[in-house]
């Protein structure tokens, strides 16, 4: 369970807003974190604090396949994203980095910017001062990747265990 402050954003928060294209050549994740959401404004990255949650509308992460859009959030301290919906590649990239992504429209509608919430990702629960929201858990295979800490670790374990180049 993680407790953190909410940063609320709107619909269609795309990858150019999350991580502008000009920063793509950066390979150091700590450096990437300094540019998280710089597409909104130059001072936005400073607003991200450890264990904060992004709460957003539909189609979060639409656009490019740039995985830096997930990496920069993780390294900036973001504990997870709660949205009405995610674009496919962002969703996969998040899972493959073991980064919590939660689809829960009800919570998005009711949670306000700046609120402190508690999220139990494995238990499927978001708790605010006044309310509790539940969300369905992801398929066991996907939870397995997240619990391993992402696809790289998951694959490392699989390679060790089976001694063969096979995952899933």
């Amino acid at each position: 369970m993680i407790e953190g402050r909410v940063i609320k954003l709107g619909d269609s928060i795309n990858t150019d807003i999350i991580y502008p294209g000009r920063f793509l050549p950066i390979t150091d994740p700590e450096e990437m974190a300094k540019h998280a959401f710089q597409g909104i404004s130059d001072d936005f990255p400073a607003k991200l604090e450890k264990n904060c949650f992004i709460v957003a509308g539909a189609n979060f992460g639409c656009g490019s396949s740039r995985e830096q859009a997930v990496t920069c959030l993780r390294y900036a301290g973001v504990a997870g994203v709660i949205a009405k919906g995610f674009s496919r590649i962002f969703f996969r990239n998040a899972i493959n980095q073991g980064f919590p992504v939660i689809t829960c429209a009800n919570a998005v509608n009711k949670i306000s910017d700046g609120e402190i919430i508690t999220v139990d990702f494995a238990g499927g629960k978001i708790t605010t001062v006044n309310e509790e929201f539940t969300f369905p858990s992801l398929p066991p295979f996907i939870m397995g990747i997240i619990e391993s800490g992402g696809l790289i670790n998951y694959t490392k374990i699989a390679l060790k265990k089976h001694g063969e180049k096979r995952i899933g």
Binding site: N14, D16, L24, T27, A58, N93, I152, K156, L159, K165
Partner: protein, 418 residues
Amino acid sequence: MGKTFAEKIFAIKSGKEDISVGEIVSISPDVLLCSAATFAIAIEQFRELGVKKVWDPDRIVVILDHFIPAPTMQVANNHKLIREFVKEQGIKNFYDIREGVCHQVMVEKCHALPGMLILGKDSHTTSYGAIGAFSSGIGTTETAVVLATGRLWLRLPESVKIVVNGKLPKGIFAKDVALKIIHDLTSDGCTYKAVEFYGETIGKMSISERFTLANMSVEMGAKASFTACDDVTKAYLQAHGCPRYKPVFPDQGASYERVYEFDVSSLEPMVSCPHQVDNVKSVTEVVGLEVNQAFLGSCTNGRVDDLEIAARILEGKKVHPNVRLLVVPASRGVYLEALERGHIRTFLEADAVVANPGCSACFGANGVLADGERCISSSNRNFMGRMGNAKSEVFLASPATVAASAIKGKIADPRNFL
């Protein structure tokens, strides 16, 4: 019950006959595309896995296309790392900065063929649906894992059928059809879905035009797109000297989550307005808006037919003095053919800037806009800051609309120029 294209491909590639929609399976792609300087990150992750050799060097294609030639030290070092990796791993299908945008190169060089399942480290990998392949974009972590194991988890998607009928009026192109569909279905209307295109309009389209539709399908969230391999496809592949292939077709009576029908016989030129691709209007609603830059290029609309229609409009005319027209052929092959046909001369004589094939201004690698500037572009995205400046605007349209607007200095209706 009949199977959709996605169901057919998943069954063939996974070796499991009955997979239900939504089920996750482990699949080995026919080809893995690694594009752009960010491939350097995937290489680091590949090393982390502790695997010495890539799964199959002959099924990996590496293309440098995003920041080319290297504009900074960091990009130059990423490129160097990639070149060394390619050599070390014996990857023969490597296209250095000279070749063009990865998706165009993939099809031109026969790396994408009908019936294949292709994964690519770029969202516009959906493009190869144009020739009847199942292709989808992935991230860097996934790229690293496929490099090492040759496998990836994929979820069998629901399929959406889009039927397009009607003869396209003069001045209306595949891009206008794509924008109309995205307008109606919205930016997340097909998230995680496979989209299949049918209808007499699609049947009459060239591979280049089908490419535009397949390419843009990710702008409504699609995982993959599909157009059936037909005589047009076969002729294209033969002309490009492609090897034998085995097309895969959906069954009659396959079950689709949704079916949409479009009649394009009275379609108008469409323009996608800032800052979302589905914010589409008829050109007549935005005619007269001043533009500072016009971009003709990208994997969406940087092919020979795109340059040809623009050249026809620009022939003997000049680009408006307040406009910078950037022409960027999608590939070296396109560049050479446009050169032979005289289009490059037409552009230069019209005062356009012709640059080397690559992604270029599409995502702000160059051709960055200044504060308050506006660009009309034949590319695929108009997100805030897409061309490198959050205080600028990008409008998306067909190459004809881009060329007409470049002459006028304002967004213009191409029908008045044809």
